[in-house]
Every structure is written in structure tokens, then in C-alpha cells.
Symmetry: C2
DNA sequence: TTTTATCGCTAACATACGTTAGTATGTTAT
DNA sequence: ATAACATACTAACGTATGTTAGCGATAAAA
């Protein structure tokens, strides 16, 4: 009888969630079927339900684990006694590295959250809105300081976050520059677009 | 008997395609059903097939009409006898305005092309790859001219295009700045991040 | 007015989906 | 060895989906 193999002391559920992330990224949440997932895991579809409650639960787990990581990071950054630009750069670098190293989850959380169902949906949207407001507030402070040029902060946030989601294309491209180069280039362009000179 | 009403001398097919764009944006291609679309159009699902060949055809039409508009624009811009930064700015402004005024189609083309099926899929991916190469080539020229700072051009393209797709959030936000303000802010940040100073 | 083509309807199809029930097999603890 | 548990299997369910066939109604052309 086939059995889900759990390397690296992962629970079987974690194995399923991880494979789900890959699948949801490749095909989209709706287009990825539980039978697809079962095949990826090496088991029959019904067997998955010994470990998870529903397909949507997989999406919850992915979306909220990602969201929580970003919330913790901004908690941390806000407390630092540094300049605004430094804070912005720190957040951007975190975003970039999350997108590089936890590609599947972050991508799914970014693009597939629409398929969450209430109350998770509203919850997620709230968290997202609040996160962006806090990010914008940091930029606003920078503008008051004259560290950052006079722009619309929410627009700046929107540009930053979406620009970073473009790392998706980097992952898919054949001739990749290194992760470090990518990070430095992105920071150069994005921070360069903000600072007052 | 209900009839598809065709204001503004649109064909009935065009009405369907337009409504499909809205629906595909809201729910995603896979999650939007032909019965949903039929309801939006005010007709029974089966009746749609008097005007279209299949659900996928709707996606083709949307994706390629958008792609063609961008290809025509870059044809035009490449021929101009202006500096690289000016060309980049012109392309960016075009992207921004397309995203503002043809939101639904552009968004769908951007996010749902994965659900195209071959040969349309490979075709679309090719066009996209070529477009980005041409965009990158303009940036490369700018770098050689010292108009643009020394960065990885493909990464710059990726940032630009994805940043612009963030206009999605602007559309959904309640307190919007004006379209003109949005455009100027985006240009300021994105071009500001590129130029050599 | 008659004819013809266009368009919408009802009914139904085959397929794919998420999920459950019940049972067998393998693993761990006593 | 045996009991208890965890995990996988087969079979099946109800529902939703894209699409087709065939028939009536409407609009356009004669």
C-alpha cells in the first residue's frame, strides 16, 4: 500500500500542503483537482481526507502562514530606530527573499486568495489592507522627513509589492541572474525611485 | 424571449466577450461558468453558443486583442528618433493607460493566459517573451547611452510590467487618487528608479 | 406577406469535481 | 502476540460543468 513519505520530520499534512502549493501555483486553485494533488503525493484522492478537512483548508493554511510572516516582519521593522528609507529597504528585502525562497506559497497567497471563502476571505483582505496601510505610513514618515520624495504613499506601496511579485518571471526564466543580483537590482530600482535627491 | 441588447453598434459576440472579461476578472477563468456568463448577458447558457465557439475562444480573443495592442505600440515607439528614457516613459504611460481604461481585458490577459490551450498558449507565451526582449533592448540602449543607470535590463522590465499590474489595487480601492495623479506618481517612481543621476 | 436566416429556449449528455462511507492494511504500544 | 491506532483503498454520492440537439420565436429580406 502506498504511503506518504515524510522526509525531514514533516507531518504528512505538511507534505500535502507543500505539494498543494506547487500545484496551485502551476494550475491555479480552481483548476488544480484533488485527484491531481493525490497523484503528486502518490496516493488516492480520498486518502488525502485522512489528513485534511477540505481543499479550501489547504488554501487557508497557505494564505495565512504567508500573511503572518509578513505581519511579524513589519511588527519588527516598525520598532527599529532607523530612518524610513532603511525601514522600507528592509521590508523590500524581506519581500524579495520570501518570493525567492518560498516562491510557491507566496505566489499562491498573492494570486489565489480570491478563492478563500468567508470568514477567511474577509479576514485575509483585512490583514492585507492593514499591512499596506502600515507600509504606507512608513513611506509617509519618510516624505515628512524629506528622506523620500513627495509621492502618493499608497501608490508607492502598490508599485513595490506588485513589482516584487514579478519575481515569478525570474523563477520561470531560463537564463537567470543570481538571486543576489536580482535582489540588488530590484532594490536599486525601487528604492532609487523613492528617495529624494 | 430575452434578447442580447447591442448598444453602441456592438455585435452580440462583442457584448459577450466584454461581459466575459468582467467575469473572468472577478472570479478567474476556471471559476467563472458559462451559466454565470449567460446570466450576466441576460440569456440562457446554451444560447451563447449561437455566437461563440467555446469558452476558451473567449479567452483567446481577450488575450490576443490585448497582446496585439501592446505589440503595435512598441512597433511605433521603436521607430521614434528620441532618447531611450523617453521611449521607456512612452511605453510605461501606454501600459498605465491601458490598465486604467481597459482594466478588465488587460487584467484577464495578464493573469489568466495560463488557461489558454495549445497552440494559442505557446503562441501567447512567445509574443510575451519577444515583447519583453524588445522592451529590455530599449533599456539596454539607455544603459549604453548612460541615460539609464547600470542595471539588469530584464529585471527592470519585469519590475515595470508587474508594478503596473498593481493598478488592479487602485481600481478596487475606495479612496482613489485621480487617474492622472496615479499616472504621474507611477512614472515618477518607475522612471526615477531607472535614470542615471 | 411570405420566406429565410438569426437567435433563444428547453432538455439532456458526458465528464469532472469535492467529498463521504466502509473496509482493509500496515504501524505502534501493551 | 494482540490490541489500538493511523493510514490507504475501493466504491459511490451528488453536484456543477461545458457543450450539443432540436425546436420555437423573432427579425430581416424577398
Amino acid at each position: 500500500m502506498a504511503r506518504i513519505k515524510t522526509d525531514n520530520n514533516l507531518t504528512r499534512k505538511e507534505v500535502i500542503v507543500t505539494k498543494a502549493a506547487t500545484l496551485f501555483r502551476e494550475k491555479g486553485f480552481k483548476a488544480a483537482s484533488m485527484r491531481d494533488l493525490a497523484e503528486a503525493v502518490g496516493v488516492e484522492a480520498a486518502s488525502l481526507y485522512n489528513h485534511i478537512k477540505s481543499k479550501t483548508e489547504l488554501l487557508h493554511e497557505l494564505c495565512f502562514s504567508v500573511a503572518n510572516r509578513f505581519l511579524h516582519k513589519i511588527d519588527e521593522v516598525e520598532l527599529e530606530k532607523t530612518g524610513s528609507v532603511e525601514k522600507i529597504e528592509k521590508l523590500l528585502r524581506f519581500h524579495i527573499n520570501e518570493m525567492i525562497h518560498h516562491y510557491e506559497e507566496v505566489y499562491v497567497s498573492d494570486r489565489e486568495w480570491k478563492h478563500l471563502s468567508d470568514p477567511y476571505l474577509s479576514n485575509f483582505q483585512n490583514q492585507r489592507r492593514i499591512y499596506r496601510k502600515r507600509f504606507a505610513a512608513i513611506i509617509e514618515t519618510g516624505i515628512k522627513n524629506k528622506e523620500v520624495k513627495s509621492i502618493d504613499a499608497p501608490t508607492a506601496v502598490l508599485i513595490m509589492l506588485h513589482a516584487i511579485s514579478g519575481i515569478e518571471s525570474w523563477h520561470r526564466s531560463v537564463q537567470k541572474i543570481s538571486a543576489e543580483e536580482l535582489e540588488e537590482n530590484m532594490i536599486s530600482i525601487l528604492v532609487g525611485g523613492l528617495v529624494n535627491r
